[in-house]
Symmetry: C2
Subunit: 96 residues, 2 copies
């Protein structure tokens, strides 16, 4: 399934900047960065559980925001893009 | 329909910071900010056309990125959130 992961991590201090780096790292392990804080992650259920758990452990729920959107199997039809950052399709095609 | 609008606008110069403000303004006119550069916009087809045209006119396609996700009518089931910024549901409920 395709899960869109969007995050805002408060970077007002060193701990926040560390959380931001670690959140991005977890997302990079499982998906394709399409914007600075937006990743498209094509996951099986086990991967989804792992990614979610990793992110939940990382963020400060008082300061940061994590938002997931489940785009389903027909996810390509749900996406439209304009501008920079043409992204490789995680299933092998090229999305523009 | 629910359209998720995500943007990255290059703020390396004054023009970029102006574009960022204007992109955010257009989104605010039509939707609910859920993260710094992510809006959920509940739109009819005419509103969607207007918003899209407004955003297309605003951005610099060489520097900025606009990405839309069409979440459909069952959009509530597609969203999961953790952390700050509890958002009012544009259809009247409260999403957490």
């Amino acid at each position: 399934m395709m899960v869109l992961v969007c995050y805002d991590v408060s970077t007002e201090n060193k701990e926040g900047r560390r959380r931001l780096r670690r959140v991005a790292k977890h997302c990079q392990n499982y998906g394709q960065r399409v914007q600075n804080s937006v990743f498209e992650c094509l996951l099986d259920p086990a991967q989804w559980t792992t990614l979610k758990n990793n992110l939940f452990k990382e963020i400060d729920t008082e300061k940061d925001s994590l938002r997931f959107y489940f785009l389903g199997s027909n996810w390509r039809k749900r996406v439209e893009h304009l501008g920079t950052k043409i992204t490789p399709d995680p299933e092998g095609l090229l999305l523009v």
